[in-house]
Structure formats: structure tokens, C-alpha cells
């Protein structure tokens, strides 16, 4: 999940009787599964939460290009390079779809990027981990995109129309990402040298827990989650999604012939789910706070690209303005 701990600005959930007439009508539409569209009335907190969540999601897609870009120039074959480039390009595109969706709420992309660049806006904790071998490209596709997809499939039903439509488009395009990642790992495990197999297990060891953290804190720790669920911005809780992800991932792990770095991971026939160990929440909150292994580098690189591009963006704008002025003068003269 690319949006974690999105602040709703709400301390406790309002009872219906405490709501204004507008709010009650709004909640009635939400209850009816009718989508909210940009010009419709919406509570301020709903609008702000959406902007936070959608932009955090967009920022994650954009920052997420970096850990994969780290291996793009070193991809071992032309086929793998084409696949990885296409995937990174999709992520950039998905960032753009999501910024578009956020902009329908009356906030400019420049403002959103500014919040990212100044550290006010967050992006998913997962992208603050380094990619240290080629198998990480597989692990990122399989585990990270896999976790994101679990969440995004559900988000296709989110209550805000433009966000829902962006998610539908994104899900359709991302279906190859996870398969691509898994296939990288499977090829290395089935046809690889011992060194390649070690790479795969090493990548899984490093990305397993951070992938589980992508779903955010436990449900009982989160008012925000409850409010977002009431508004149907979120459709399932953090813990539900995490469990879905684990249940679908463990059999895939077994097919690979690899293990998870969790001694408590085991099938529970009574619940019909996998039990798993406790997540190291101190690590999670540390990364969220900015102390992950790559927080500083990721942000610095993004800011640098933006600043280095200023003169290019300005030039394009200046050229367009001149052209329009030129066209206007020609019109007057004729």
C-alpha cells in the first residue's frame, strides 16, 4: 500500500446526529456507493484526506522509480532491461494519473511536489530501502508491487470518482509488474547458479518485512483508518489487507523454494489463514520519520532533478508564450 497513516484530521468519528444536513446527505451518497465527483459538495476533512492520500500515493510512484532505476543501466539482458524500463515508465505514468486525480480537488501539482520536496508530504516507507542486487528487481516486483496491488484492487471501489478511475487504469496496467518480478526470481531459482539463488534468498530476506509494513500500523492504533473507512476512501483495514497479502504470497514463496525470515510464519487450519510474527514497528516508525537507509538520498535526488529542470520548464513556457504572442500579432496584422 503506497499510502500509509494518512491523516484525516479527525480525532473521533462523528455520529450521524452530530452532522450538518450537507454532511448527512453526503454520507447517504457514500452509503449508496454513489461516487463523489470533483464539483460535488464534500466535507473539508474528506477533501483534505483525499489530497493527502492521493498525493502520497503519487509521490510513492515517483520516488519508487529510484530503487529500480538503480539497476536499469545494469540489467543483465536486453529483455530484462526492456521489461524494467517499461515498468519504471508505468510507475512514472501512474504518478501522473494520480497527480491528475489530486488536482481535481483544487490543488496544483506544483504545490503537491513542493510538499514532497520540502519533506512535508510523505511517500511509502518501502522506497527508503536500498536495492543491492539484481534479485531485488524481482523482489520489488513480486513483494512490493504485490502488496500495492492487494490494496489498489480494493481502492478501485474508493468513493472519490477520479481516484477510483485512476486506480482502475493503474490496476489494469500493473498486472504485469508483479508477474514480471516473480518471473525474475523463478528464473534465477530454477535455472540459476548457486550465486544467483543466494541473491534471491537475500533479496527476500531484506524485502519481506518492509513489504508487510507497507500496509501501515495495526488497526487498533488508528483513528485515521476508521474515518477513511467510514468515508469509503479506504475499503479494507490495514490488518485485513496485510493478511490477504500474506495468505496469497506464502504459497508463491514455496513454489520459489525460498523461505521467509519469520520463524512464526505458519498455516493455521483453525482460522484458515497464515499466522505470522510481530512486525518491528520501531523500524517502521523510524523509516516514516525519515531515518530509513535511503530517505535522505531519495529526496535529495528528487529535489535535485526538479531544481536542475527549472530552466528547462521555464524555457518551454517562455517559448510557448512567444509563439502565442506571435500568432496573436499575425492575426491583428491580417
Amino acid at each position: 500500500m503506497y499510502a500509509q497513516m494518512v491523516d484525516t484530521g479527525v480525532k473521533s468519528l462523528k455520529h450521524r446526529s452530530e452532522m450538518s444536513a450537507d454532511e448527512q446527505a453526503f454520507m447517504a451518497r457514500i452509503d449508496n456507493e454513489s461516487k463523489i465527483e470533483p464539483q460535488d459538495w464534500m466535507p473539508d476533512a474528506y477533501r483534505k484526506t483525499l489530497v493527502r492520500q492521493i498525493s502520497q500515493h503519487a509521490h510513492s510512484e515517483i520516488i519508487g522509480m529510484q530503487p529500480e532505476g538503480n539497476w536499469l543501466t545494469r540489467a543483465p539482458t536486453i529483455k530484462r532491461k526492456l521489461q524494467l524500463a517499461a515498468k519504471i515508465q508505468d510507475e512514472c505514468g501512474h504518478g501522473q494519473y494520480l497527480y491528475s486525480a489530486a488536482e481535481t480537488l483544487g490543488v496544483g501539482r506544483d504545490q503537491l511536489l513542493d510538499q514532497l520536496h520540502t519533506g512535508k508530504a510523505k511517500y511509502s516507507s518501502i522506497f527508503n530501502y536500498p536495492t543491492l542486487n539484481w534479485a531485488d528487481m524481482g523482489a520489488v516486483g513480486w513483494l512490493v508491487d504485490g502488496a500495492a496491488i492487494v490494496n489498489q484492487v480494493v481502492l478501485q471501489r474508493t468513493s472519490y470518482g477520479p481516484y477510483s478511475r485512476a486506480m482502475i487504469r493503474i490496476c489494469k496496467e500493473e498486472s504485469f509488474h508483479q508477474r514480471q518480478g516473480y518471473e525474475i526470481l523463478l528464473t534465477m531459482m530454477q535455472k540459476g547458479t548457486p550465486a544467483q539463488k543466494d541473491m534471491v534468498q537475500d533479496a527476500i530476506n531484506r524485502f519481506w518485512w518492509p513489504s508487510l509494513m507497507m500496509f501501515g500500523p495495526n488497526d487498533d492504533a488508528s483513528t485515521n483508518s476508521a474515518q477513511s473507512l467510514a468515508w469509503k476512501i479506504k475499503r479494507k483495514s490495514n490488518d485485513e489487507l496485510r493478511q490477504m497479502f500474506i495468505d496469497q504470497t506464502v504459497p508463491q514463496l514455496e513454489v520459489l523454494g525460498c523461505t521467509a525470515p519469520d520463524p512464526d510464519l505458519q498455516w493455521n487450519p483453525e482460522t484458515g489463514h497464515y499466522d505470522f510474527g510481530e512486525i518491528d514497528w520501531s523500524e517502521f516508525f523510524n523509516v516514516i520519520k525519515g531515518n530509513g537507509p535511503c530517505n535522505k538520498q531519495r529526496l535529495e535526488k528528487k529535489v535535485k532533478a526538479h531544481e536542475n529542470g527549472t530552466w528547462v520548464r521555464d524555457a518551454a513556457q517562455a517559448y510557448a508564450t512567444k509563439q502565442q504572442a506571435g500568432a496573436a500579432t499575425k492575426k491583428e496584422a491580417s
Binding site: E37, Q39, Y97, D110, L113, A320
Partner: protein, 95 residues
């Protein structure tokens, strides 16, 4: 040095011949030429299009949500505009 982003354009794509252009989202661009290029890069990466329109977002006029009832509720009553309103004998009901 400017900080403002490039203007926004709405993008409409004709996915196949015979279909009408459909709104797919928006792009930032300095002018119509580059908006078409950017839309091509962003929205047709998988063969989705045979034609693209771009329109400056601020050129679109939209109906107001509070007028929704005034504008759209009346046709709901006019069921006689729909073929199913007219009951015909089974022998000629394919009409």
C-alpha cells in the same frame, strides 16, 4: 525563476475507429503541440488510441452539481421516450 507548473489540458482518446473520443485524464504542457505529445506518451503506451484531442482544462464549462435535479430529473418521468413503455403482442415484440 518560475515555480508555477505548466498549464493543464484535458485528454480525450478515441480508442478504436467508430468510437467517440473519451475523457481519460489530464496532462501538463506548455501548449497544444506538447500537450498532444505528452498525452501520446502517457495515455497510449499500450496501443490504446487512434486519435487524441487535448483541450485546455480552463476552457471546459461544466453544469453545476446543485442544478442536477433541475437539469436531469425531468426526463426520468418521461418513460414514454423508451421503447419498453409500449407493450406489443408477443408476435411483433421484436419491433
Amino acid at each position: 525563476m518560475s515555480t508555477a507548473d505548466w498549464p493543464l489540458f484535458e485528454v480525450f482518446i478515441r480508442s478504436r475507429h467508430g468510437l467517440s473520443h473519451k475523457h481519460v485524464g489530464s496532462v501538463h504542457a506548455v501548449d497544444a503541440t506538447s500537450a498532444l505529445e505528452n498525452a501520446r506518451e502517457l495515455y497510449t503506451r499500450r496501443n490504446e488510441g487512434t486519435s487524441i484531442w487535448v483541450v485546455p482544462s480552463n476552457a471546459i464549462s461544466a453544469s453545476a452539481p446543485e442544478q442536477k435535479d433541475a437539469l436531469f430529473s425531468s426526463p426520468v418521468e418521461k418513460i414514454y421516450r423508451h421503447p419498453s413503455f409500449y407493450k406489443l403482442p408477443a408476435e411483433v415484440d421484436k419491433m
